[in-house]
């Protein structure tokens, strides 16, 4: 059996047995939906319906209903896209990168973080889709034989790389998540008493029986998928950043973008995981599984990635001056002192200063402070993308076309709507899916469970 140093805080608190873990996770699925859940899902589905309405109006009318203008051809749409993709980075990072590093604390959070990833990537995919205007011809982004002569998509373009990156990322994350879910669906199947629910979970569990050979394959698949999903996580946001970095717009054309975007993505993703999990652990009484130590570990990741983002902001600023390129310098002077300086300073405060508070152990281990700061970081990261996108293009080389971007109600409605869809999906997940990776948690109970650790010390 694996042993863990006594000095390490236990990962599973309380006097738990294997059965308790099952009961704690499957119990809420078997019981009636709590009133808080009903209220939350009602609110979020109303917002979601409003968002879908805005999207349908947009598709019916054309993207002229957005506030785009002569210089600002990309604004909230791509801001929201990058924001959502960024949030979608935490799940696979937690489940793949932390699996390779054998970080056991991931086991309490990976299932819901991956669910969050999948829903966030779906939200992200909406934006380039509707930005096309004619979403019904979106299959044109794929290299399909066609009747327009030998017209192929351009494989030199980062926008096409993005098509491959996002679809690979989405489908691989989905498969990774589902393969982990199969044994847990089997646990639910075997405990359900209502015939309909039993049938549904039976279908979802693919007839999983937990044979030794199957577990052997399961672990190999998890490991190999983690191995190939790790570079995938880094490649996806690098490619997203190349959408900007390979262009010739001052403010975008920088080689620092890939690492800067990847750390920003992990930063915002962890913040969103904190926001969701702090509510979920309370609502579903999972305090023994997701506790202060888990929150602290995540906050440490937030300090590291937040600091990388901070260094990237300053490097960008320094290089724009050091380059001696007038246009490049102007792009950055305009960022911090131009008409969008308010957005720039919101970004700086939320992303560079606020995560530094986590150096204080008290703040890092405080659930209230973490929740508040996680929302601050999410806001900051949205503004980061807004600043990068809008401030770099609202003033081009021709001062007569300079202008500012003003979002319309549809811009706002679509964004708020994706938040509604996202929360509706996540709440649905929290209600019907095993929110903790049961089969993984049970493997660490004996090495990291509080009762087992105490028994070891007493021996």
């Amino acid at each position: 059996m694996q042993r863990e140093a006594a000095i390490r805080e236990p990962l599973i608190l309380g006097d738990k047995s294997y059965k308790d873990i099952t009961d704690d996770v499957v119990g809420p699925i078997q019981g009636d939906a709590p009133i808080g859940w009903k209220i939350m899902i009602t609110i979020s589905s109303i917002i979601a319906v409003y968002g879908v309405g805005c999207i349908l109006y947009l598709l019916g009318t054309g993207i002229g209903v957005w506030g785009l203008n002569k210089t600002v051809g990309w604004a909230w749409d791509i801001t929201n896209f990058v924001w959502w993709v960024g949030i979608g980075h935490a799940g696979t990072l937690i489940s793949a990168v932390l699996l390779l590093f054998r970080q056991k604390w991931r086991m309490a959070i990976n299932r819901s973080a991956e669910a969050m990833t999948i829903f966030a990537v779906i939200m992200a995919a909406i934006f380039p889709g509707i930005h096309m205007g004619r979403i019904w011809v979106s299959y044109w982004v794929l290299p399909l034989p066609n009747q327009f002569g030998s017209l192929w998509v351009n494989f030199n373009s980062p926008l096409l790389w993005d098509v491959f990156a996002i679809s690979t990322y989405f489908s691989v994350s989905l498969v990774f998540w589902y393969i982990g879910l199969i044994p847990d669906f089997a646990t639910i199947r075997d405990r359900m008493t209502k015939p309909f629910a039993k049938k549904v979970y039976g279908l979802l569990s693919f007839g999983w029986s937990g044979r030794a050979k199957h577990w052997n394959r399961f672990e190999e698949v998890s490991l190999v998928l983690a191995g190939i999903a790790t570079p995938l996580v880094f490649s996806v946001h690098s490619i997203v950043s190349m959408d900007f970095a390979t262009s010739v717009i001052p403010g975008w054309h920088t080689t620092i973008f890939p690492p800067y975007f990847v750390s920003g993505a992990v930063f915002s993703g962890f913040a969103m995981v904190q926001t969701l999990l702090l509510i979920m652990r309370k609502g579903m009484k999972l305090e023994n599984y997701i506790h202060v130590k888990h929150v602290e570990y995540m906050n440490i990741v937030i300090i590291v990635t937040g600091s990388i983002v901070g260094v990237a902001y300053l490097t960008e600023l320094f290089i724009s001056w050091y380059s001696g390129v007038e246009y490049e310098s102007y792009a950055f002077i305009n960022r911090f002192s131009g008409p969008y300086s308010w957005a720039y300073w919101i970004m700086m405060t939320c992303n560079v200063i606020s995560p530094q508070l986590f150096w204080f152990k008290k703040i890092r281990r405080s659930l209230v402070a973490t929740f508040a700061l996680s929302i601050v970081v999410n806001i900051g990261m949205w503004f980061e993308r807004y600043v990068i996108i809008v401030t770099s293009i609202h003033r081009d080389y021709d001062p007569s076309s300079w202008g500012e971007f003003h979002p319309t109600n549809i811009d706002i409605g679509v964004f708020i709507g994706t938040l509604g869809i996202f929360f509706t999906l996540f709440l649905g997940f929290a209600r019907f899916f095993p929110v903790l990776a049961l089969n993984e948690l049970k493997t660490i109970l004996k090495s990291s469970g509080e009762n087992y650790k105490k028994a070891q010390e007493n021996n």
Partner: protein
């Protein structure tokens, strides 16, 4: 008449010790059903390491080949386009621009190929019936399956040996 024994234990370490004890007596354990991967049980009951990793590598290299072949055909052979002066006449010279898609496509094929192979080899597919002998094996119990067919000992001898281990429950079934 053949007999199958389903021996239930309530702890993974007990299960492993019991399996070792039985195997030492020359008894073959057909299978083990557990709610989570019990590390160390595989060598005891003779489960070999899976070759799925090799399969994944082969799927991924297929992806690499297909991606490069496709891009060579679309961008170099069928319709070369001058894009920002990038070399449109040679795969090697235009390769840097093709690396991201090559990588993504390799991962796509590797991951999905492996996942599909895994599900097929396991026989875990939508609509398949569950075959665990007891619903508690997906919760907190561990079941060892031993058959008379695979063992030289008689049913009574097997039962006696099994009962020497600290078992939780034993169920026996006849089958043809």
């Amino acid at each position: 008449m053949n007999k199958v024994f389903h021996v239930m234990y309530d702890d993974d370490d007990t299960l492993k010790d019991a399996a070792s004890a039985l195997v030492a007596k020359g008894i073959r354990v057909k299978d083990v059903f557990s709610p989570f991967p019990v590390h160390g049980i595989d060598p005891i009951i003779g489960v070999k390491r899976t070759r799925l990793g090799i399969a994944a590598f082969m799927f991924a290299t297929t992806g690499t080949t297909l991606a490069l072949l496709g891009m060579w055909y679309f961008m170099i052979s069928d319709w070369p386009m001058n894009i920002g002066g990038k070399p449109s006449f040679s795969l090697i010279e235009n390769l840097p621009a093709f690396i991201p898609v090559t990588f993504e496509f390799s991962v796509l094929c590797g991951a999905h190929g492996m996942a599909i192979t895994y599900l097929l080899r396991n026989g875990t597919l939508p609509g398949m019936p569950a075959s665990n002998p007891d619903p508690r094996t997906t919760d907190d119990k561990f079941v060892m399956e031993i058959t008379t067919e695979q063992n030289a000992l008689s049913a009574d001898e097997l039962e006696a040996a099994i009962k020497e281990t600290p078992l939780f429950e034993l169920s026996t079934k006849d089958y043809k």
